[in-house]
Amino acid sequence: MASRISTTMDAAAFVAPAGGGEPGTVGDIHASDPVITVRGGNVHYGETHALKNVSLDIGRNEVVALIGPSGCGKSTFIRCLNRMNDTIEGARVTGEFRLDGQDIYAPEMDVVMLRTRVGMVFQKPNPFAKSIYENVAYGPRIHGLARSRSELDDIVYGSLRRAGLLDEVKDRLDRPGTGLSGGQQQRLCIARAIAVNPEVILMDEPCSALDPIATARIEDLIDELSQNYAIAIVTHSMQQAARVSRRVAYFHLGMLVEVGATDKIFTNPSHRLTEDYVTGRFG
């Protein structure tokens, strides 16, 4: 009980400086070749202040893991990056969010274009009520990326191969995607996301609904994908963060507490809260 109180007090002491200056994040928020840059990001859901003054870069071809206890704002953060918060009633986003230097929330930023460039994989696999083939072909079809059936075939087969799913499903591409196992469904969703060749892939706890074997496959896949894409992955599992990511960002009560190289965060965190969390004292 005592430790719970002391951590809350720490958190209270940790509130960003008054006047909205630099946030009090420990560690280096910068990436060498950033594709996404966020400065002073805030999100309000009605009365709730869900994300408080967060600044973070995500670099090209790197995997950043976002960790922290439930409700700490990690999911909110990544949903800002492709404006999925737009669909939530009463959500208000302020601060600077940039993709390749372009303001994500600028009026001239087209949300269709943004989401084509920033793909997303969700917590629960959500294949459409269509065939496996049509699931992957969905993005290319709506954007008109393929001019012929053979081009579309190429994209679908290529995406399935890169998602490591092709060998398992190539005989039943016309069967419904919902008939696959949970892990296969999630890889189908990844294939669906990469079929439009995004620059960034956001993953919101992609393995939380999967068994360990399926999880391991997805983690391998993330590793492979990181050669071509910037990936931001929200996870509850510190082991997963340690396995797949190059950098880790620790969120607490809507604030970004600490950012650092994965090794450092897990072996020698600088902030009390991060230490408490990674050593399992709460979370």
Partner: protein, 462 residues
Amino acid sequence: MQFSTLLLILCGLVVASFVLARRRAIATAGGYKGIRSLHSLPAYYGYFAAMWAAGPALLLLLLWSAASDPIIMGRVVEVLPEPYRSIQGPELDLVLNDVRVLAAGRGSGTEQQQALQGTAAHYQSLQAASRSLLATLAIFLALAGGLYAYRRINPRLQARNHVERVIRAVLVGASTIAVFTTLGILLSVVFEAARFFSRVPFHEFLFGMEWSPQTAIRADQVGSSGAFGAVPLFTGTLLISGVAMLVAVPIGLMIAIYLCEYAAPRVRALVKPVLEILAGIPTVVYGYFAAITMAPLLRELGQALGLQVASESALGVGLVMGVMIIPFVSSLSDDVINAVPQSLRDGSLALGATASETIKRVVLPAALPGIVGGVLLAISRAIGETMIVVMAAGLSARMTANPLEAVTTVTVQIVTLLVGDQEFDSSKTLAAFALGLVLFLVTLLLNVVALVVVRRYREQYE
């Protein structure tokens, strides 16, 4: 004795049984202190006795009221004065009705009623005898039942279990009424339809191209029983329902889509009650509107365009029927579209799809089984709809696919064949039941298929 007096006495007996039995239960337990030695709470002993007092007597009342009048009337017919003795059928019913009216003291002094005075008096005396016999028997039964239960009371009697068993039986009985209703519909329709098919061959009815039942009742046509080919009715029904569906399905579906996917919560909260009002308007109002407002409107519009629009055109009827069905389609689709998980929409939006692309390519395909189920139910409603077509559609059977002409429907013919004074045995009235059978079977098929489809769909997302 008045019926209400008898009921009052029976009620009194039931209440008395309850009170006495309860008191005796407490007494057998040795007063309030010994209550715990009773198997059930004292009130249950009261209910136990009350049930014994009420049950048999009520059963008797029910049977008596169903059976007594036919029996009495049978006796009355035997003593009818001479000129009336030989008549049969509907005329006899008229005569007996006069007897009833006279007996109730509402006679208006017609010649026939004067002649029937004696019979009415006889009827009255028979009725009085029946009533007093009933009263005696019912009171006796209530007393006997109450006494029987009263004497059975002892602390070991499982009164609550007895009472609950009876309640349970009543509940089970209530739940089977739906089955008996279906059975009743089926039997009554099938029975009469079978009599019809013994006069008009089955295939002639189902595949015949000409429908003119009016000729059937002419006396000089005994043997040749008019034309009962129902195909023009089927095509007419389909034409009107088709127009209605063309209105209701796209508009209803688009309303559901707009309210689920686009509208702000405030707009939704405003529009849904309006649609509920539309759904709550009685069909007779729609029928009146179709006949008085829509038909002349279309006729004038047709004239302006140089088209010949019949004043009872299938188009006008179908349009109004379609509007009536819009809220039905929209509320069913609304449920179904809302049941599509948000995660599917998110998945599509996250790929850069616009809202309409998401709806058309992800939400609607996912909701399709449910929507199809809803549309099937809507079709079933359209072909069974009666008042709108009775008031605004035509009477003459015509086979046409032109919605500007007047057609008639199955339900219109059922009503015209059965409303008014007809003998119950003519091919004409029996034909209505044959049409009713077709209507029932078709809607049954549609409903069951729709219910199965919708249930499957629900399970998919639960």
